[in-house]
Amino acid sequence: MAALYDRYSSIVYSVALRVLGDTGAAEDVLQEVFMQLWRNPAAFDSGRGNLAPWLAVIARNRAIDQIRKRPTMTDIEDVVISIEPDMAGEAARSVAMEKVRGTLGNMPAAQRTALEMAYFEGLSHTEIAEKTGEPLGTIKTRIRSGLLSLRKAFSPAT
């Protein structure tokens, strides 16, 4: 468990901190995510993705549950991730991180904002539409297009 922590704690903590904006709360999420992995390691299906993005998704969802003040919505066994880039190594993650930041930086601001509001603030498309004053359909399209842009950035053709 110590080895897993040393390898993946940074990505888990950083995403939780970005969502929660509080170091103590982020530490709690970090603890909770790794304890869930310890209690139920079979929940992670290594045949369908690597551990880093899986932990990142779990951490993000837990953090969102906290800021939304709602009970845990997602069972970790239900989280299945299909992702191409290898995020296990520090170097690979660093490369992927630069690529993600570059892709987000190249997005239209409205699209990036909608995506970040959904991802880091846990807002529903209705809430985003209300906050931005944009139509629901537009928000839906921006979010989906933003995620597909990230996927495209990591597709083998690029």
Binding site: R39, A56, N61
Partner: protein, 257 residues
Amino acid sequence: MAAHEQFGEDLALHALGALDGGEKASLEAHLQECAACRRELDCLRGDMALMALSAAGPKPPARSRLRLLEAVAREPRQLAVRTSSVRRGWWRMLPMLTSAAAAILIIVILGKMTDLRNQLVSVQNQSVETQVELQRAKEITATLTAPDAVRVTLVAAKTPPQPQGKAIYVKDRASLIFIASNFGSLPADKAYELWIIPTQGNPIPAGVFKPDAHGSGTIINPPIPSNVEAKAFAITVEPESGSSAPTSTPIMLGAGG
């Protein structure tokens, strides 16, 4: 495909947890029967995970690592134990082995305790038997030596009482009991002395006594050597303090065994 297109945007929102209301319920119903949309949802979650990288950078404080490892140490992982049972190392069986060893030790200790308890009971029984025998011996001795004991020697009718002595001797124990009856009285400075006549060697003094008013007397276990083969027993009249060798002719004589 029309259905997939319909749900395409909702899938992205659903991956983010940003879908709500009736649209969420409708999509989840569709996912139950659409493998293609489930696969797309998995891919969208992967895309979502990439978003986490944009926040990467901050490191957790060192105390978080310690906190986690302490929590892990306090909470055994049941699944790991179950799945690794085939290749279980001896150290994983240590608690079980320790329990088994403790159980065996307890059984051994209980067995030893049972043995000791049985030995104690045996010793106690022997002690009781010894006490009973000792009590009987004391009673016999008390009866034989009691000053108020009535000693009667039965003889043929119309026969006057004759002096009589009975010696009971066990050479291995060097134990000798002599009972006298109908002995005549002696001068104050004289006493009767019992002798063991061995098969070899000189007579061995075996105690002195003065008869009571009824002519009775006893000698109980006088100081004599052990394993002396007695050819006969004899009574002489000796000085009151006794003699180391007979100084007079025996007045009574009886052959040994």
